[in-house]
């Protein structure tokens, strides 16, 4: 009935093994790539010692972890503690089964696609499997039976499910446009070029620009791009494992290779979400514009190259974010997810549901609207008013019973009289109780 049915068993075997090996190698490469790139950004070298350009570094790290003691804290739940990394690891690999690397090719005399398999619900399948990965994290935190890991896993779960919604919603827009959830069909649907039409006229023109959904569904793309960072717990959204608060989050109790497994999964996941992004929004294995105008460039065997390039580019963005942005506060992070992304996604879905053919214009409209609502001006409204500290009032270092740092303009009591202008006053800390249920 379809191409994938016709794959003989040996071809499937070859593809599975090949994909597995590629993923492992690519991940090892990515670890090195990230460290090098961050190093460059921070004007240092990064790993250079092992192998050419330090390429063997990640491999060495893996080998080291393999040889480390892999112990389980005595309070931990035996089964779940072991199950969690397995779940996470397997889920990370499984996602890739439906990602298309290239189009239809001849291979050993069989016509097949450069893709392990595809199903009518492939994109949905990815979401589902990714959710199983979340189970791994929850269970890891729970099984560790330690405060840090538990809090970390709770946080990480909350974070991942929060961003999964906007991720799902942004994907819905793609499905509306593509009319399918099959990953290869989505890619193919982006092959066609965009016909531009000047509003209120019949004039149409065609720049040969492929109809990538990153263009056609720009807001969805942006939302997806943000959510995918949140989904992978990467900076600036790496709250579950933020060292300053939670030691290592859900990973706190893990060591040895079980730890390595989470580590591996995280990097695979980064690649996964990038690959999904590529597939859904960036034309997957299709040649980028203007190269797509050259017939040769659309050779199916070139597909993997375009694909890997795009994914690597997105991966670089991950690294870039990590190298430049500070970590968000948890409330800011949740606010962004719940109050901005979902809201915008919902509106966008409604728009696109009604007028899919005007998506470009609508995207502009929505972007403008978002700027108006969430832009600089409204910042002041969102942020709670912080009363300006009264410079005349002396700082109470134990306001509310906890040691607190001085606010701008305030002076530590021991500095009174030492610093010019600082004088003692009666300490009346203004503690404002806010009713929660407004």
């Amino acid at each position: 009935m379809d191409l994938f049915f016709q794959d003989p068993w040996w071809l499937i075997l070859i593809k599975v093994v090949a994909l597995f090996v590629i993923l492992l190698l690519w991940t090892i490469f990515n670890v090195w790539y990230e460290r090098r790139l961050v190093g460059k950004m921070q004007h240092r070298l990064g790993p250079i010692m092992n192998g050419p350009f330090g390429l063997g570094q990640a491999l060495a790290d893996g080998a080291k972890l393999l040889a480390k003691e892999d112990f389980r804290p005595k309070n931990a739940d035996k089964w779940v503690f072991n199950l969690a990394p397995i779940l996470t690891g397997v889920a990370a690999f499984t996602c890739w089964t439906v990602i298309p690397f290239g189009g239809e090719v001849e291979m050993f005399g069989v016509t097949t696609r450069l893709q392990l398999t595809d199903t009518p619900v492939a994109a949905f399948f990815i979401m589902a499997v990714a959710s199983i990965g979340i189970y791994g994290i929850v269970l890891a935190g729970w099984a560790g039976n330690s405060t840090y890991s538990f809090l970390g896993s709770i946080r990480s779960t909350a974070q991942m499910i929060s961003y999964e919604i906007s991720m799902g919603l942004s994907m819905v827009a793609v499905f509306i446009m593509a009319g399918t959830m099959s990953t290869s069909a989505i890619v193919e649907s982006q092959r066609e070029t965009i016909q531009f039409q000047i509003p209120w006229t019949d004039i149409q023109f065609d720049l040969g620009l492929s109809g990538w959904y990153a263009l056609l569904l720009f807001p969805s793309f942006v939302i997806y791009a943000i959510s995918m960072v949140g989904e992978t717990n990467r900076a600036p959204f790496d709250l579950p494992e933020c060292e300053s608060e939670l030691v290592s989050g859900y990973l706190t109790e893990y060591s040895g290779f079980r730890y390595a497994m989470f580590f591996l999964a995280e990097y695979i996941n980064m690649a996964t979400v990038s690959a999904v992004c590529t597939t859904l929004f960036l034309g997957g294995y299709l040649a980028p514009w203007p190269l797509n105008l050259i017939p040769f460039m659309n050779n199916a065997w070139l597909g993997p190259i375009w694909f890997v390039l795009k994914v690597q580019l997105l991966f670089s963005v991950f690294v870039w974010l990590r190298g430049t942005l500070p970590r968000l506060r948890y409330d800011q992070f949740m606010d962004l997810g719940w109050k901005v992304l979902i809201e915008v996604s919902l509106i966008w879905i409604v728009m696109i549901a009604i007028f899919p053919q005007y998506s470009l214009a609508l995207a502009v409209l929505l972007t403008a609207g978002c700027y108006l609502v969430f832009g600089e001006k409204s910042k002041a409204i969102d942020e709670p008013e912080i009363p300006a500290p009264d410079p005349d009032r002396v700082f109470d270092p134990f306001a509310g019973g906890y040691p607190v740092p001085p606010m701008p303009g305030q002076v530590l009591p021991e500095l009174v009289g030492v610093v010019a202008g600082a004088k003692e006053d009666d300490p009346t800390p203004a503690v404002e109780a806010e009713g929660k249920d407004a």
Binding site: W96, I176, M261, V350, A353, A438
Partner: protein, 119 residues
Amino acid sequence: MNLYIPIVGMVILATVFVMVSMALSTVVGPARYNRAKYDSYECGIQPTPQPIGGGRFPVKYYITAMMFIVFDIEVVFLLPWAVSRNQLPTFAIGAMVVFLVLFFIPYLYVLRRRGLDWD
């Protein structure tokens, strides 16, 4: 069904890999007993006794979880509709818009009641 055979193959391969390497690490790695090492990690102080299951944590997380469930279901409903969006009559599109609007109302409610605020 054949579509899923490669997936099953991948799952098996990945499981084998994960389990073998985990088993390998226990064989290869050392095992030196240290009582403190097997305690929960808590910055070196005596660990707080923890009931299995983690004890108490902010209700906020429950709200998040509940909201997630609601919205996830929404997405589930959107998906089949989205796929067949251009084969559907206007009524079905209108119905989905109504559905989304109905979703927006409680969302707005939670938002205004500061159910989504973290402090």
